[in-house]
């Protein structure tokens, strides 16, 4: 799909022939993120649809306690040190960003008075700056006013290398932040930045901490700040108690900046245990009101739901379970490393073999038999109406066709049924982490491959090892010392730019960079690199989207990876809860202030 086709689609949305949601879904199917799709619509003047709340209270509080369950417990309460989503979520109870992303990827102002856009002139036409107008009369929990100084301070705090903030990513693109008045800041970027929202939006990197409590603890002293464990924020709930690895408690903030919110008097976020019993506590016994990240087999969820006390809430996000095909030779050592970028895979470098493998992954059965509602075959690439589909991103499961392709390419079956050519056999090692659905997927793929004369050796590595960043351990996913490997890559970040890093030639994972870079397949393509660089500075969201679609097509066309299933986000919600809307692009608590419960 090129730019012209995208524009036609946007026009259809404008005229009402295509729904907004349908458009966003299509874009997600093409490998874009919802926030980017929303940006495309906003830039062409399509009005934003606000999330509607069913319950509109006339006073604050009165809702008693809301009990939530995270099976991974939060370990710290400084958003800039968050080790994972569990910490970001815990921080989001007390702290807020300038804006959040709703389920359709719209930028919804929280501490900002309005969302910046090209139309209201707050986003500069050249993409070099964005102006944020902050909400007035917002107070920190200790009564001090929230001002532009706090926003500027957050950038300084995060940028100090001695602070070692994990949220530094998007802040590095900022040259300076000008304070225009007490409640207006202008963020100036190094180069044209199409996705200006990255720095101060969303729970992952955007939450604002108070300057007056952290300024003495910047850099080396950052870990001594007492507020690291006792947050003072602007959020709907005030801090009561925190035990790392166990529980976080909060109480209603009587001076919250949204009128008549929040509904609950107390909030509790209990951590620990396992996903299945967390699902039970919400869906079956109703002991808790909400549980995060239900990595539970769909069959179990369905059985629990029969009681009617709760339900599994499934929302599309950007996680993709996919199989990577090694471009380099994992079995030859060059300069002390295997899978060296200097080598070429002896067999997988033949496009016919790649095509055959692509035809042998039975996504339909994998969804049906393993994942159910919690993993949708990436049929999105083709199932969207035919005019949206780019020609080269079809998937099908067809062993006969795979056989024909291999036969035509000269791969002949040997006595053992395994195909070979020039003495090289079609034998691959296929690795993944230990996780029941993954082993079942491996088995399905292996069975199909054996029908086409390809022999797969299955290898499973403990998740702890597989995903570790130990440069000395050859079994990690970043070493990729096998022919094929499978895992889920997360596209939770609202902009695909950083995510698409993983196919650029300068990101090739190797011994020199301690296998820390993101290009695990070691695939290199000049056309892709050019498109990536162009997207980095392209200010027209539609042109930029077309570039991402092109990058996506290149990866699929060349069968660098074989997508298997999309994995949506699944939460367990009590049936008495109202307005608990999940966003696939932000924290589970992005709209916590609006949650309520029926009596």
């Amino acid at each position: 799909m090129d730019e012209r086709e995208l524009r036609t689609l946007i026009d259809e949305v404008k005229s009402g022939r295509l729904s907004r949601r349908r458009f966003v879904q299509t874009m997600v199917g093409l490998g874009l993120t919802a926030p980017l799709a929303a940006q495309m619509l906003a830039s062409t003047g399509v009005a934003q649809a606000q999330t509607k709340w069913t319950f509109n209270p006339t006073k604050r509080g009165g809702g008693g306690i809301v009990k939530t369950l995270w099976w991974q417990a939060p370990t710290l309460l400084n958003p800039h040190f968050a080790n994972g989503t569990k910490d970001q979520d815990a921080c989001r109870i007390f702290y807020e960003p300038l804006a959040s992303y709703d389920p359709d990827g719209n930028v919804i102002p929280v501490l900002a008075a309005e969302a910046p856009s090209l139309q209201n002139g707050q986003v500069a036409k050249d993409g070099l700056s964005v102006t944020w107008r902050l909400k007035k009369n917002v107070q920190w929990h200790d009564g001090k006013p929230f001002t532009a100084d706090d926003v500027v301070f957050n950038w300084e705090y995060v940028m100090d290398p001695a602070t070692a903030a994990v949220s530094v990513g998007p802040y590095r693109d900022i040259v300076r932040i000008d304070k225009l008045d007490s409640h207006t800041v202008k963020v100036v970027f190094k180069s044209p930045t199409p996705f200006w929202a990255a720095a101060f939006c969303g729970a992952a990197t955007g939450t604002i901490i108070p300057k007056h409590l952290f300024q003495a603890y910047k850099g080396d002293k950052s870990r001594e700040a007492p507020t690291n464990l006792k947050p003072v924020g602007t959020g709907p709930y005030r801090f009561v108690d925190f035990k790392p690895g166990d529980i976080v408690r909060g109480e209603l903030n009587p001076s919250y900046h949204v009128p008549n919110r929040p509904f609950f008097d107390q909030i509790e976020m209990k951590g620990g245990g396992d996903a299945v019993s967390a699902a039970r506590a919400v869906i079956q016994t109703g002991e808790f009101d909400y549980a995060w990240n239900m990595q539970v087999e769909d069959e179990i969820l369905k059985r629990l739901e029969q009681g009617g006390k709760g339900r599994a809430d499934i929302v599309a996000g950007g996680n993709i379970e996919h199989i990577q095909l090694n471009t380099t030779d994992p079995w030859t050592e060059v300069d002390g490393e295997r899978s060296s970028a200097k080598t070429k895979h002896p067999v997988l470098s033949d496009p016919a073999v790649r095509q055959a493998l692509n035809l042998l992954v039975d996504r339909g059965s994998i969804q049906e038999e393993i994942y159910g509602r919690t993993g949708i075959a990436t049929a999105n690439f083709v199932n969207a109406p035919s005019r949206f589909v780019s020609k080269n991103t079809k998937w099908e499961f067809n062993a006969d066709k795979a056989n024909q392709i291999l036969e035509a390419a000269g791969w002949k079956r040997g006595a053992d049924g395994v195909r070979a050519k020039d003495g090289k056999k079609l034998k691959f090692v296929y690795q993944t982490s230990i996780n029941a659905p993954r082993q079942k997927t491996q088995a399905i793929v292996k069975q199909a491959c054996s029908k086409a004369g390809i022999d797969l050796e299955l290898k499973s590595v403990t998740a702890n090892v597989f995903f570790s960043s130990d440069p000395a351990n050859p079994d990690t996913y970043s070493h990729f010392y096998t022919d094929l490997q499978m895992y889920t890559t997360t596209m939770t970040q609202p902009d695909p730019q950083r995510f698409m890093d993983q196919f650029t030639s300068w990101e090739v994972s190797a011994k020199d960079n301690k296998f820390a870079l993101t290009n695990k397949t070691r695939w290199r393509n000049e056309e892709y690199d050019r498109a990536w660089k162009a997207a980095e500075t392209e200010m027209d969201p539609v042109k930029r989207a077309a570039l991402f679609v092109k990058m996506n097509d290149l990866v699929i066309q060349n069968i660098v990876v074989i997508p298997v299933v999309f994995r949506p986000r699944v939460a367990a919600i009590s049936s008495r809860m109202r307005d608990v809307v999940q966003s696939g692009w932000d924290s589970d608590f992005w709209a916590l202030a609006y949650w309520s419960k029926q009596a």
């Binding site: 690291n228 790392p244 690895g245 620990g272 245990g273 079956q284 960043s469 970040q493 301690k514």
Partner: protein, 319 residues
């Protein structure tokens, strides 16, 4: 006796040093990385991770790291959690009350169940009561706590809906309700742990009473005209308790081990769940501190058992 105590304490120092060296090496060699989650998140630049590793001294050679740990340990500094960015001793102190409450009540429950049942079984060996008690005891210690725990949850929380299966250390209530809520949530974990220990303790108690009850001084006591109750309490049970007490002392570290699993099942925020979470998160300083505490417990309870034995039975002398 004090000389003996001093010598035993001195001997335990090299033992603990050896244990700590082994623990440290194994933890250092084990795969995994505390900043693993940052590695798989494409939003976090790799430099941040490298910077953190350098800051927490993870890139230094093993002997250097061990030496640093020993030195700070001597100064009473337990280290700093990579994951929570808090001092390890604060973390442990936060978790200690829950563990002590659950383990203490479980131990109490075990004694309250085991001593009367064991004694009564021994008084009427091979009676129906003894047969039933023996069968239950065998079932009790052959079923692991993680299994009985799940069984209890299924029965009492899910089928009957009587008890909560998620333990909350902070309960937002006051007065009687606070005690009531705590009691309700503690019933299952305490019962699971307590009954498991009670099972083996009943068998010890029965055997010990059987040994004592046939001795001449018991007959003498009866012949003197002492009531059956006095004979039993003052002469039989008191002497029978000697081996049981030492066994209980030796079992204490084992109970901590069993509690790890039970704490995980019921989400009790104790030391055991701290250990599991830290292992999963590769938070080495915390794992090191908790396992070291466990090994100190083993050494200390061995010593305590030896001392108790001598104190209860004056025939034993220390050399």
């Amino acid at each position: 006796m004090s000389k003996y105590l001093l010598r035993r304490t001195l001997v335990s120092i090299p033992v603990l040093a050896g244990i700590s060296a082994v623990l440290f090496t194994i933890l250092a060699l084990a795969p995994g990385d505390p900043f693993e989650e940052l590695a798989t998140n494409p939003n976090v630049p790799p430099e941040v991770r490298m910077n953190l590793r350098a800051k927490f001294g993870l890139d230094d050679p093993l002997p250097v790291r061990y030496a640093r740990w020993v030195v700070s340990m001597m100064r009473g500094d337990w280290g700093f959690s990579f994951v929570s960015r808090v001092d390890v001793d604060t973390l442990i102190l936060q978790r200690l009350p829950a563990t002590l409450v659950v383990l203490g009540s479980a131990l109490l429950l075990a004694i309250l169940v085991a001593v009367p049942i064991g004694t009564y079984s021994a008084l009427r060996p091979y009676s129906i009561f003894d047969q039933v008690a023996t069968t239950l005891a065998f079932i009790g210690f052959s079923l692991p706590t993680f299994f009985t725990g799940l069984l209890f949850i299924l029965l009492f929380s899910i089928h009957l809906d009587w008890l909560p299966f998620i333990y909350r250390a902070d309960i937002g209530a006051t007065g009687w309700r606070w005690y009531w809520e705590h009691l309700r949530q503690a019933i299952m974990p305490v019962a699971v742990l307590g009954l498991f220990q009670a099972a083996s303790m009943t068998r010890f108690m029965r055997a010990a009473v059987l040994d004592v009850i046939r001795l001449d001084y018991v007959n003498t006591a009866r012949a003197k005209g002492l009531s059956e109750a006095t004979t039993l309490v003052k002469h039989v049970v008191r002497n029978a308790l000697i081996p049981v007490v030492t066994l209980v002392a030796l079992q204490v570290p084992g109970i901590f081990g069993g509690a790890i699993v039970t704490e995980q099942i019921f989400r009790v925020p104790g030391i055991g769940s701290l250990l599991i979470n830290s292992i999963l998160a590769n938070d080495t300083p915390v794992v090191m501190a908790v396992t070291f505490i466990f090994s100190c417990l083993v050494v200390a309870s061995n010593l305590a058992a030896d001392l108790l034995y001598g104190w209860l039975d004056p025939r034993i002398s220390y050399r």
